[in-house]
């Protein structure tokens, strides 16, 4: 009896302590935040610095050399933010695609029975992941691309594509009004992929039949494209860049900052992805491959239906975090003047407007939402994969 009451009192006291500790933390946090904010406000007030987000509607007045949406000097700072964000996303998406491709091949190379290939992949991984990314970016930009020729002496492929120290200049494809039919044809092709895949899956589950997918899809696509051709002819024309004055005019130019950044980001990230891919494939039990063979599945089928889905479950979570890292690392663009969000917004806009607090906070918030969004999608995907894994039992 006595024992019990002691324990109860002890429990109650511990409970009280927990509450007290939490209140203490909450109060301390509140005070700390209050103190910081109070400092900022009084500092800014005393110095008569403008505050608020009114500057978003003001005229920016400076040029940006790569814009995916309409932008001119007359656009607002809000527009600058959009341009920067899109440039960040562009470099990230392309970097992710290239890094995945390269990383996948090198990861496979790491598992190769061939000693030489195996070692080459290892050397690649050890070199690229142990050298700072910023150094790699600068190496490609200031070290390598500087040795490219001037526009007048460009490397060229058939006088249509040019490569020089102003970047990669490609012909632009101009679409006429009839191009919409080709767009519809492509849509039909995509729809066909979904439709036939679904049908094949159902057939496989219900009747164990293997239905073809890609042949009917190709058929649909060809028919749709032919119809588009009959309706609209060829509504496309090429705009070939020409050298006029200092630079090439017309066409699409890929600025060298972009080239250097994508190159460095994907080479660096590929070394991490390669290790992830290797670990993922190694994680699939050897028995799985043997079992697939015993069931009479072909090599491709074994890969598609047995090995890859299981490896992916291990690969996807760390892969996502690498993708996220690449996106965040693209902020190093500021070192080589690629107009990403950090460069045009947290850089130029910050100095023109002078409101450091607002601008840095907005920039951080954008990266934070990108990252939270990705982890949200990740969790959803993980839950789905886990469910599918549990359903077979």
């Amino acid at each position: 009896m006595i024992d019990k009451s002691i324990i109860q009192r002890w429990r109650a006291r511990v409970g009280q302590r927990d509450v007290l500790a939490q209140i203490a933390v909450a109060v301390a946090l509140f005070l700390a935040v209050y103190w910081l904010i109070d400092n900022v406000v009084s500092n800014l007030e005393r110095q008569n610095v403008a505050s608020g987000f009114g500057f978003f509607n003001e005229r920016a007045g400076f040029g940006i050399n790569q814009t995916l949406i309409n932008y001119s000097e007359d656009s607002s700072y809000g527009r600058v933010l959009m341009v920067g964000l899109l440039n960040t996303l562009l470099v990230s998406v392309i970097g992710i695609a290239l890094a995945s491709l390269l990383g996948f091949f090198i990861g496979i190379g790491r598992l190769s029975q061939n000693w030489l290939i195996n070692r080459l992949a290892l050397v690649y991984i050890e070199i690229f992941r142990n050298v700072p990314l910023l150094l790699q970016i600068m190496f490609w930009y200031f070290g390598v691309l500087r040795n490219l020729p001037s526009p007048r002496n460009s490397f060229t492929a058939g006088d249509v594509v040019f490569f020089n120290n102003r970047g990669l200049i490609l012909p632009a494809i101009e679409a006429g009004p009839g191009a919409i039919w080709y767009g519809l044809a492509l849509l039909a092709g995509i729809a066909a992929v979904f439709w036939f895949k679904r049908r094949a899956k159902q057939a496989r589950f219900v009747a164990g039949e293997i239905l073809p997918v890609w042949r009917p899809v190709a058929l649909v696509l060809v028919v749709a494209l032919m119809m588009a051709f009959l309706l609209a002819g060829v509504p496309f024309s090429l705009e070939i860049p020409v050298l006029r004055g200092f630079n090439f005019r017309g066409g699409i130019s890929v600025i060298p900052e972009f080239v250097a950044l994508v190159l460095a980001l994907s080479l660096y990230t590929a070394s991490f992805i390669a290790e992830i891919v290797r670990a993922g494939i190694q994680s699939v039990d050897k028995g799985q491959r043997e079992a697939a063979a015993a069931l009479g599945l072909s090599n491709t089928q074994a890969l598609n239906l047995v090995l890859v889905p299981q490896a992916l479950r291990v690969i996807i979570p760390p892969l996502t975090s690498q993708y996220l890292n690449l996106t965040k690392n693209s902020s190093l663009a500021v070192a080589i003047a690629y107009p990403d969000i950090v460069s045009v917004f947290a850089g130029t806009t910050l100095t023109q407007v002078g409101q450091a607090v607002e601008i840095i906070l907005v920039t951080m918030l954008i990266y934070l939402s990108l990252s939270l969004l990705t982890s949200f999608i990740m969790n959803w995907y993980n839950a789905r994969v886990a469910l599918a894994g549990g359903s077979h039992g």
């Binding site: 007290l20 800014l44 630079n247 070192a335 460069s343 023109q352």
Partner: protein, 342 residues
């Protein structure tokens, strides 16, 4: 659990102590500087002629001289100043937050900066304008021939805006490549990434020295903007603003009156009342500002007059080789004009 709550109690106490010990800290820059024993001056990260560390790591240049002049006025000793190299982006925050007491960082006096950033410009120690540097081999002599050119420049400066305005008003196309640091912009221009490098003309001369072959580049004569460069102080501390302002004026007045670092001691006995007032022989101009009356004497003795600092840092005999031009005294057709010490 006991330790936990105890620790947090300590934490709370510490935080409270921090909050309540922050009474109103007086923003009297002069007394802070005097108490600290040296002045903290924000300069560039290395711009020859204006603020640049020499071989021995000592800062030299025109902007550095104005900092030294203020130190001489306050302490009677021009070495009681320390320099903080700042990027274009950091400079105003560093000043606002009190990290530096004044800014002498080839900073353009513009209305937006003067009115919206909580800072005050105290004068113009160099009248500049934005120009272009190009390769000689291009055969260009006029900036209006730059249609379609790629321009390298520094991110977050008035330069970016001026270039945009200039090319648009003249209906020319351009591509701007803006770097975080001047060195990177110059490096990119040097490699041929850009056709032209654009910034304040004085800086063009300075940066040209860093190129592989300075002789292969020319600075175009056209000036596309007004860039009055001057020292900056925090808004709201008029006494400190006065000291910085008059340190510059003292140097200009000294040139006008023929007082140099060489003859300043003999000039003290000069009959000219203007010189006597400047050197603190007559009047209480120094004590009115809260410093000693021989403030200007100390500036001229240690740093020299305006002509001396100009010629020593950027003038004809230096690698920059810049002529006085608009920076000549008003009596010689220039713009440097100082109100009288009276």
């Amino acid at each position: 659990m006991k330790m936990l709550s105890y620790k947090f109690r300590v934490f709370v106490v510490v935080i409270c102590a921090c909050v309540f010990s922050q009474g109103a800290v007086a923003a009297e820059t002069l007394s802070i500087v005097k108490k600290r024993g040296h002045m903290q001056c924000g300069v560039s990260q290395g711009l020859p002629g204006f603020s640049n560390p020499d071989d021995k790591g000592n800062w030299v240049g025109m902007d550095v001289d104005i900092c030294r002049a203020v130190a001489a006025a306050v302490f009677g000793d021009d070495t009681k100043v320390k320099f903080t190299p700042l990027s274009a982006k950091e400079r105003f925050t560093a000043l606002q937050s009190g990290e530096v007491d004044m800014l002498a960082r080839n900073t353009t006096w513009s209305m937006h900066r003067d009115t919206a950033l909580g800072v005050d410009f105290t004068g113009v120690n160099y009248y500049d304008g934005q120009g272009f540097m190009v390769r000689k081999e291009l055969g260009i002599t006029n900036s209006l021939e730059l249609d379609g050119a790629s321009l390298c420049t520094n991110l977050g400066t008035t330069t970016e805006l001026n270039a945009a305005d200039y090319f648009r008003t003249n209906n020319m196309e351009y591509e701007i490549v803006a770097f975080e640091k001047a060195d990177e912009a110059v490096a990119a221009y040097n490699t041929g990434r850009c056709d032209a490098y654009t910034t304040d003309q004085s800086a063009l001369y300075a940066q040209r020295l860093k190129l592989t072959e300075p002789g292969a580049h020319i600075v175009l004569p056209q000036i596309i903007s007004k860039e009055p460069l001057g020292p900056v102080v925090r808004q709201g501390d008029n006494q400190w603003g006065d000291i910085v302002r008059w340190s510059h004026f003292a140097m200009v007045n000294a040139e006008e009156l023929g007082v140099t670092s060489k003859n300043v001691d003999t000039m003290k006995t000069n009959k000219n009342p203007a010189i006597r007032r400047l050197l603190g022989v007559d009047g209480t101009f120094g004590t009115n500002m809260g410093i000693s009356n021989d403030w200007a004497y100390n500036i001229i003795r240690t740093v020299g007059n305006y002509a001396e600092t100009f010629e020593r840092n950027v003038g004809k005999s230096t690698p920059l080789g810049i002529a006085r031009g608009v920076n000549a005294l008003w009596t010689q057709g220039g713009l440097q004009y100082a109100p009288p010490v009276r």
